[in-house]
């Protein structure tokens, strides 16, 4: 029965869908359907030429029955109450109507569902269409790209072809050039050889000619012959001499080889020593471990004991073999070292495994062991806490007591007095010290002023001296102008007396040499041309600073030391040096002289 409906419904649906296609609006279609249905129902009553009239009730009934039967509603058979067909048997008719209504409703709902589905489908179709167009565009684009790439590839292939041809030609050229070079080289070498032969021939001829000419000039002319440098006489060239030469050569070679062998032996011995030591240490490391590890497992300890015995034996044998032939010893040594290394590795692995075992054990025993100790510890800590509490309490009490007492005014005043007294005492002491220092200072100042006065007097005397000397000089000089010029120009020759700036330069040199940070000897003159003596100089004259501390003195010493090799004019220089150091205090006078 269901199938029936569905086919009908689908047919109807087809129609509706076709309509909807035309109208393009589902809501309007609905309206249309309803407006189509209702007037039909109304018309069945209002219009005379209706389906059923009073005359053909029976026919109608039968027709409807047939229709119902065709619809599959056989159970409800509408019957007329009277043969004339004026009345209807209500129950079946109503049933039939009900059934029809039901059918109608069902079809309507299916129609609605189908319409919804239809809508969905149409939207998806639209989506598909748009995506389709997009994909089409993409396709076109990619096709275009592809063609572009194809083009490029073609071009590149063309290029490759040209390049390959180029390469080929280049290769050919290289080969050609190489062959040319080779031929040239052979030609050159050939030519060179020919030339060399020619040159050799020429040389031969030249020497022959020279010999033939009996070159008279070729001669040695010695006043008297010399002895040999080693004091021996010359030897004849004999077979014995050649043999001795050979012997000597081999001797020297042998000694060289021996020396090198010795050094190699030493090196070897050292390396062996290192190896030996390494081995010993290995044994040392291994043996106590085995003894300590004996407790762990019986098998292990036995094995290790055996091992260590073996090792000791090995060590002994290798020590013995060291003195044996080199190769043998080396082999043994390396072998034993290798064995021991293997053992050591095994041992370390074993230790590792043991450690992991022990750790596991510890982990398992962790809860067992500390319980008792834990208890003890707790007890002890509690005791400690109790003690601490008591201690704190006592402290608090004491503090309280102290506070109470300090509130007492009288005691506070007493304490204060004590403090002030003490401070006064200290101040007094300081004052005394200060007084003493002051007195010292006064004394020193007095000394200083006295010294200054003395210095002034000395300076004055010196000035007078200088004036007189200048005067003398001037008087002496005037008639001998020629000599003076001569001395100034010849002042630089090696053996003459040097003039003042040169000496200063050399003193600067020495200074520089001492300081060791110098870069050149042509440094500008030191600035000591001031008319007023500087404080260090003053101090020096006052003998406040010992002479040895002045840098000039040490310079002088160095200069003397350095200049000992200088020839002839040593004394002159020494004289100048003396003068120079004297003048360094008041360098103005001499300076002026040199400038004038």
């Amino acid at each position: 029965m269901g199938e029936w409906w569905t086919t009908e419904a689908s047919m109807e649906n087809c129609e509706i869908s076709s309509i909807s296609h035309v109208t393009m609006s589902p809501s309007r279609q609905n309206n249309f359907v309803s407006s189509y249905l209702f007037p039909l129902a109304k018309s069945s009553y209002s219009v005379i030429s209706a389906f059923c009239t009073e005359d053909n009730v029976l026919q109608c009934i039968s027709y409807i029955n047939q229709e119902l039967a065709s619809l599959g509603l056989c159970s409800t058979y509408i019957e007329a109450t009277s043969p004339e067909g004026t009345g209807l048997n209500a129950v079946p008719a109503l049933n039939a109507i009900y059934e029809l209504l039901q059918i109608h409703r069902r079809t309507m709902s299916t129609v609605e569902a189908l319409e919804k589905e239809q809508l969905k489908k149409s939207s998806t179709m639209e989506l598909m269409q748009t995506s389709n167009t997009r994909l089409k565009d993409q396709l076109e684009l990619s096709i275009r790209e592809k063609s572009g790439l194809h083009e490029m590839e073609r071009q590149l292939q063309l290029k490759i072809k040209t390049l390959q041809s180029c390469l080929k030609t280049e290769k050919d050229e290289v080969q050609k050039l190489q062959s040319i070079i080779a031929s040239r080289a052979s030609q050159y070498s050939h030519d060179a050889k020919r030339k060399e032969r020619e040159a050799a021939k020429l040389k031969e001829r030249l020497s022959q000619l020279l010999v033939d000419r009996k070159d008279k000039k070729l001669a040695i002319d010695v006043l008297n012959c010399l002895g040999r440098s080693d004091g021996k006489r010359g030897h004849w060239k004999t077979a014995k001499a050649t043999a001795s030469h050979e012997g000597e050569m081999y001797k020297s070679l042998l000694s060289d080889y021996e020396a090198s062998q010795k050094s190699l032996m030493l090196e070897n011995a050292e390396l062996k020593k290192v190896l030996q030591q390494m081995k010993k240490e290995m044994i040392h490391i291994l043996s106590p471990c085995s003894s300590s590890g004996r407790g762990a497992t019986a098998d292990d300890s036995q094995e290790q004991h055996h091992d260590s015995d073996g090792e000791e034996k090995m060590g002994d044998t290798s020590r013995e073999t060291l003195d044996q032939s080199c190769e043998h010893a080396r082999e043994q040594l390396t072998n034993s070292i290798r064995q021991q290394w293997r053992k050591l590795r095994n041992h370390v692995e074993k230790l590792d495994s043991q450690v992991s075992q022990v750790q596991n054990q510890l982990e398992s025993n962790k809860e067992m062991i500390p319980l008792e100790t834990h208890e003890d510890e707790m007890e002890r800590m509690r005791c400690e806490v109790q003690q601490c509490k008591e201690f704190i309490h006592a402290q608090q009490q004491l503090l309280q007591q102290q506070l109470n007492t300090s509130f007492d005014d009288e005691t506070a005043a007493l304490l204060n007095d004590c403090y002030t007294l003490e401070e006064k005492e200290r101040l007094k002491e300081e004052w005394k010290l200060f007084e003493e220092q002051k007195r010292n200072f006064e004394r020193e100042r007095k000394n200083f002023t006295e010294a200054a006065i003395r210095l002034g007097r000395e300076k004055k005397a010196f000035e007078e001296d200088r004036a007189s000397w200048l005067k003398n000089q001037f008087l002496n000089m005037t008639p001998f102008t020629d000599r003076r010029r001569c001395s100034s120009s010849d002042g630089h020759s090696a053996l003459s007396v040097r003039s003042e700036p040169e000496i200063r330069m050399s003193s600067v040199k020495a200074q520089l040499a001492k300081s060791s940070t110098y870069t050149t000897f042509s440094t500008p003159r030191s600035s000591q041309s001031g008319a007023v003596p500087s404080t260090p100089e003053l101090y020096r004259t006052l003998r406040l600073i010992p002479e040895s501390s002045s840098s000039r003195h040490s310079n002088r010493g160095l200069w003397q030391e350095c200049s000992t090799i200088e020839d002839g004019d040593n004394q002159v220089k020494a004289k100048h040096r003396g003068r120079c150091s004297d003048l360094s205090i008041f360098s103005m006078g001499e300076d002026e002289n040199s400038l004038s």
């Binding site: 070159d215 006043l223 020297s252």
Partner: protein, 433 residues
């Protein structure tokens, strides 16, 4: 450091005697011998012509003066000033003259390397050695003076002859596996002879005293090869400088390379880089005195000092002309310090830098960057101290403790008694300007 006054000299002929007691200088055709300690003239000899070469004998008793143009050699004695000796090579010509190690024989090389004439001062005897090869270093005496190795060329093949210097007996004569032998050098212990090929091929051959080939070393092929070779004083290392700007150190046991020192333009790992900085001295008005102007030396000279640079340091590189022969590239000078601890090198395309390598750590110890090209350098014969000059009036000294630049007080000459050997070599360099 002290400096003497300037001594005249010509042809840069100025040498200290091997025992360090005397100093000989040549002035035109005169030979002046001074005592080193007093600098006073001891002897003055007059030769027949301008002296072109001068050499002390090993015992410091004789001086050889060669006059190549005249083909003459004159020998003077210090002990007997009136003793004289004159050797005339005649029309064959003379290009080189040298003492034998015993100081009683003179080896003269004739023009075109036709032969070497050995003149004995003891017996007046003369012997000839034919076919000597004209090359970078064709003759070398062992350090103890007992053997002489000589490169020879016969029938377009290289040979080495080993002579006993005692009586010039030919001990060994063997062909070497070289294309074109460039030089040979004895190891300081006198048992190994290093022979190297010309720059066209990297090849170093090591021969035993009895002529056996001990080893052959070649670092690379198809490129310019060996440029310089030097033994360490202990005979333990052989340093080979080559055109690829590297130094290779070869050991004396396996004769294989144990270290390679490169000379990069950017120094990144070393202890210190010293850079010379020049500046003119500040001249005050009070210094414009007559004396300074007349002496003139100090006023126009620049001062120098070293600065320590932070790494990395870029060292100026001159690109050599590839079309010219003997391109200015590669390690051309190698020198071990007397105590074997240091090796100083110079790379020709970084002419202003000297590299000092530590032979114990086999690493770069210091780099000295000068303002101008380094002319020569030399180690102190006693201490690990390097002196170098760049053709100006300054002397530069390096030691493990630091670096210093010293201004030579007067133009040219000076002499320090302790440093005489070095300083004299420097004086030469300084006057090359």
């Amino acid at each position: 450091m002290n400096f003497s006054e300037v001594f005249k000299q010509s042809n840069q002929l100025c040498k200290v005697s091997p025992d360090g007691k005397y100093l000989a200088t040549c002035v035109q055709y005169r030979l002046v011998v001074r005592d080193v300690s007093t600098l006073q003239i001891m002897h003055l000899y007059t030769c027949l012509d301008q002296i072109s070469h001068m050499e002390w004998s090993s015992d410091s008793l004789f001086i050889l003066c060669a006059m190549y143009k005249r083909g003459l050699v004159q020998v003077w004695s210090l002990e007997q000033p009136d003793w004289h000796c004159k050797i005339d090579e005649g029309s064959i010509g003379l290009v080189s003259s040298r003492w034998s190690p015993d100081g009683r024989h003179i080896l003269n090389t004739t023009e075109f390397h036709l032969r070497i004439t050995v003149w004995s001062l003891c017996t007046k005897a003369v012997s000839y050695i034919k076919y000597p090869k004209a090359c970078q270093k064709g003759i070398d005496f062992s350090r103890d003076g007992s053997y002489m190795a000589l490169a020879e060329r016969r029938d377009c093949k290289d040979f080495v002859s080993i002579f006993v210097c005692d009586d010039w007996h030919l001990l060994r004569h063997f062909e070497t596996e070289t294309q074109d032998l460039a030089g040979l050098e004895w190891s300081p212990n006198g048992c190994v002879l290093a022979v190297w090929d010309s720059c066209l091929e990297y090849k170093v051959l090591l021969y035993s005293l009895d002529g056996r080939l001990l080893s052959t070393y070649s670092a690379y092929e198809w490129s310019l090869g060996v440029k310089s070779v030097s033994w360490s004083p202990s005979s333990q290392f052989l340093a080979i400088g080559s055109y690829d700007e590297k130094v290779r150190i070869i050991n004396h046991i396996t004769w294989k390379k144990i270290a390679q020192f490169e000379h990069p333009a950017t120094v990144e790992s070393t202890k210190t880089v010293y850079k010379e900085v020049e500046r003119r001295p500040a001249v005050g008005t009070d210094e414009m005195s007559l004396h300074n102007i007349t002496t003139g030396s100090t006023l126009f000279n620049t001062q120098s000092k070293y600065e320590i640079c932070s790494l990395p340091v870029q060292i100026p590189v001159v690109k050599p002309d590839p079309d010219r022969a003997n391109p200015k590239i590669g390690v051309s000078v190698l020198a071990f310090s007397s105590d074997n601890h240091y090796l100083a090198t110079k790379n020709d395309n970084m002419a202003s830098a000297v590299w000092v390598w530590n032979m114990q750590k086999m690493s770069l110890e210091a780099v000295l960057e000068q303002t101008s090209a380094v002319r020569c350098f030399q180690w102190d014969p006693r201490h690990p101290r390097l002196a170098l000059c760049t053709g100006n009036t300054k002397l530069y000294l390096w030691s493990p403790g630091g670096c210093v630049a010293v201004q030579v007080p007067t133009e040219g000459n000076f002499l320090g008694p302790k440093l005489n050997y070095i300083v004299l070599r420097y004086r030469k360099g300084a006057e090359l300007q």
